[in-house]
């Protein structure tokens, strides 16, 4: 089936070359990082994780695109999703690939990566994150590819795939939970030390993943002959609506606990994000943008008229995706380090090479996504005789 990825239109090849160019620039910057060390980034002794780990955290959420179509389709017989399960699964594959790349590029000594396997340490949440992320990647590649192959051959999928599909559902829950546990179990990092962290991760994942999937469905509809179907998009938009509302609700819960209790440690993080702390407030504009985007998305999604109209739904999905990116991809990780253990504030801003490397990982993800979608959609077009 992979041969289908090598037969494409001019536009397809131009897009791939464009992505490769971005990857090339980022790869050059990564070589610089390998030589000079992580000092080429904006990270510091105080804010020791930054943009890379933020992207990883956000993209684990995007991988929920798969479970949000697989669960309704296989457990609740929501037939509309039959056409797009493969799109959800392949988006999860690309997302998890990016997650793994972001972890690797963040390491100080990436060539020692396999020490994690050589000295397995079950008391480390990072050890479990490695297992669940790789497992989820494996499950989605195998399930997606096998089911698509059977579709192409016009035969029912082999029996052994079914158990894997069922396993993939709780497994999806595990990737968000374990990633949240990376943060939620650390003494002294007040902004992260909240029991609701895993629930927040699940809620934001269930809106950001399907929101991107809707955007991608519209792109597929526009640029290929395959139509994912209005019904599927409609169902997805319902999921995004509920998940976004729950997500916003959870953020408000954090605000209540912090400010009604008036415990300084609990307030610091949120103060830093929304009004600035002791004159430091580099993230304040981003968080108000987050707030505005959430309001716009909620307004457009809860109104059935705007939710069902393609144009406004698209705006709502872009707003949702971007809002969640601001909250998970930037704010969450950095704010955990502010203030530092000495209650001093060191702020963080990524550097140009850091951004170039980040962009290259995103481009790699989109390259994988494009190739996988090309294969999937070529098969779908072939089946439907388009």
């Amino acid at each position: 089936m992979l041969d289908l990825a090598f037969k494409g239109s001019k536009r397809y090849w131009r897009w791939l070359i464009f992505l490769l160019a971005i990857i090339g620039v980022g790869a050059a910057c990564y070589l610089l990082q390998l030589r000079e060390g992580l000092k080429i980034t904006g990270m510091s002794r105080d804010v020791s994780w930054g943009f890379y780990i933020g992207q990883f955290t956000f993209l684990v959420g995007v991988a929920a695109s798969a479970v949000m179509v697989v669960l309704p389709y296989y457990l609740h017989n929501v037939k509309e999703f039959g056409r797009i399960t493969i799109l959800g699964e392949f988006l999860a594959v690309a997302s998890v690939m990016m997650c793994l790349l972001f972890i690797v590029i963040d390491l100080g000594r990436p060539m020692r990566l396999f020490n994690v396997l050589l000295h397995p340490t079950p008391n480390s949440i990072l050890f479990w994150d490695m297992i669940v992320l790789n497992g989820y990647l494996f499950l989605n590649i195998v399930i997606g590819w096998t089911v698509l192959h059977s579709e192409k051959k016009d035969v029912p999928p082999p029996k052994w795939v079914k158990p894997l599909i069922y396993v993939s559902i709780p497994w999806a829950i595990s990737i968000h939970t374990v990633t949240a546990f990376l943060y939620a179990g650390l003494p002294g990092r007040h902004y992260w030390l909240t029991a609701i962290m895993a629930a927040r991760f699940l809620a934001s994942a269930f809106c950001s993943g399907p929101a991107l999937l809707i955007i991608l469905c519209f792109l597929v509809k526009k640029y290929t002959k395959f139509d994912p179907g209005d019904k599927a998009i409609n169902k997805l938009s319902n999921i995004v609506t509920y998940a976004l509302l729950v997500s916003v609700f959870f953020v408000l819960l954090e605000v209540f606990t912090a400010f009604y209790s008036q415990v300084p440690g609990h307030m610091h993080g949120l103060e830093y994000l929304f009004v600035g702390l002791h004159g430091h407030g580099k993230l304040v504009p981003f968080m108000w943008l987050f707030t505005v985007l959430c309001i716009v998305a909620v307004a457009l999604l809860i109104n059935p008229n705007t939710r069902k109209k393609e144009k406004t739904l698209l705006i709502a999905c872009v707003a949702t995706f971007f809002a969640m990116w601001l909250e998970k991809g930037i704010a969450l990780v950095v704010t955990g380090f502010i203030p530092n253990p000495f209650e001093q504030i060191t702020e963080y801003m990524p550097t140009a090479p850091e951004l170039a490397i980040t962009l290259a990982v995103w481009a790699t993800g989109f390259l994988i996504l494009t190739v996988l979608y090309k294969v999937a959609i070529s098969v779908k077009e072939e089946i439907e005789g388009l």
């Binding site: 000079e36 060390g37 992580l38 000092k39 990270m43 510091s44 002794r45 105080d46 020791s48 994780w49 972890i103 963040d106 390491l107 100080g108 000594r109 990436p110 020692r112 990566l113 020490n115 994690v116 050589l118 000295h119 340490t121 008391n123 480390s124 949440i125 990072l126 050890f127 490695m130 990376l182 943060y183 650390l186 003494p187 002294g188 990092r189 955990g336 380090f337 530092n340 253990p341 000495f342 209650e343 001093q344 060191t346």
Partner: protein, 261 residues
């Protein structure tokens, strides 16, 4: 020619395989099990190493002479680089003002007595260290005597331990530290870029019967090192007869650095 070399190869291979399989048998026959690694007879042994810091003694000395002996002693013998940029600096032992070292103890009126007073801070060698709990490779680990150690050769540089440490005791080598080492001590390893480091309670000195370098360097006798497992040790006695505080005691990490104020 080909034949011969192949035969030789098989021969050598066979003998090697035989040798390898005979090795465990040999070691059994050899009888008494020798320890693979033996500490010096002079090595200090303890159940739970701790340090009591009498800040009043330290301040007196500082007021008179601007003393920095402990900090300099530690950083010079451990090849700690001097990097001026606070974002990239490496610190094993240093001072922080009272309100920063003990943010949860600071309030309006403590300031009058303790405001801006420098406190010596370092790794607390916690009895329940969160850094050890999170490390995915056991590069940071706790010894039986309580010392929290770093294996610079195993560390992958994920910096999870830095996120986990509530004391800011850990530093990361954002770049190559070697150009910033003024005078290298050949007795102790330098580090490479991309690994985390911190105070090791002078494990290398304990192993040869010496107390930590900072303790030895302190002429005021403000730093006292000893075993809390021994009720007659100096640290145990000091803790019995003085009111002491620990940094962020409420987090349950059980720090082993105590402060007399």
């Amino acid at each position: 020619m080909m034949e011969k070399s192949r035969r030789d190869f098989l021969k050598i291979g066979g003998i090697s395989a035989l040798g390898l399989s005979a090795l465990p048998a040999l070691s059994v026959l050899a009888g008494k099990k020798q320890p693979a690694f033996k500490l010096s007879d002079k090595a200090l042994e303890g159940k739970r190493w701790a340090m009591v810091i009498d800040m009043k003694k330290c301040w007196e000395k500082q007021k008179k002479e601007g003393c920095k002996d402990c900090l300099l002693a530690c950083h010079s013998i451990h090849n700690v680089p001097e990097i001026d940029n606070p974002k990239r600096e490496i610190k094993w032992i240093w001072t922080e003002p009272y309100e920063n070292a003990f943010p949860n103890l600071e309030y309006e009126y403590t300031k009058e007595v303790l405001k801006d007073k420098p406190f010596i801070v370092m790794c607390n060698h916690c009895s329940k260290p969160p850094c050890v709990r999170v490390c995915p490779t056991k590069a940071t680990f706790q010894r039986k005597d309580g010392v929290v150690m770093m294996d610079f050769h195993r560390c992958i540089g994920c910096r999870y331990c830095m996120a986990a440490c509530p004391y800011g005791s850990r530093s990361f080598n954002w770049g190559d530290p070697r150009p910033y080492i003024k005078k290298e001590n050949m007795e102790f390893p330098t580090r490479t870029k991309g690994v985390v480091e911190k105070c090791n309670f002078c494990a290398e000195r304990l192993a040869v019967g010496l107390k930590p370098a900072c303790v030895e360097a302190c002429k005021a006798g403000a730093l006292v090192f000893g075993d809390l497992g021994d009720p007659n040790s100096e640290v145990s006695k000091l803790l019995k007869s003085n009111y002491t505080i620990r940094r962020k005691n409420d987090l349950g990490t059980e720090p082993n650095i105590y402060y007399i104020i």
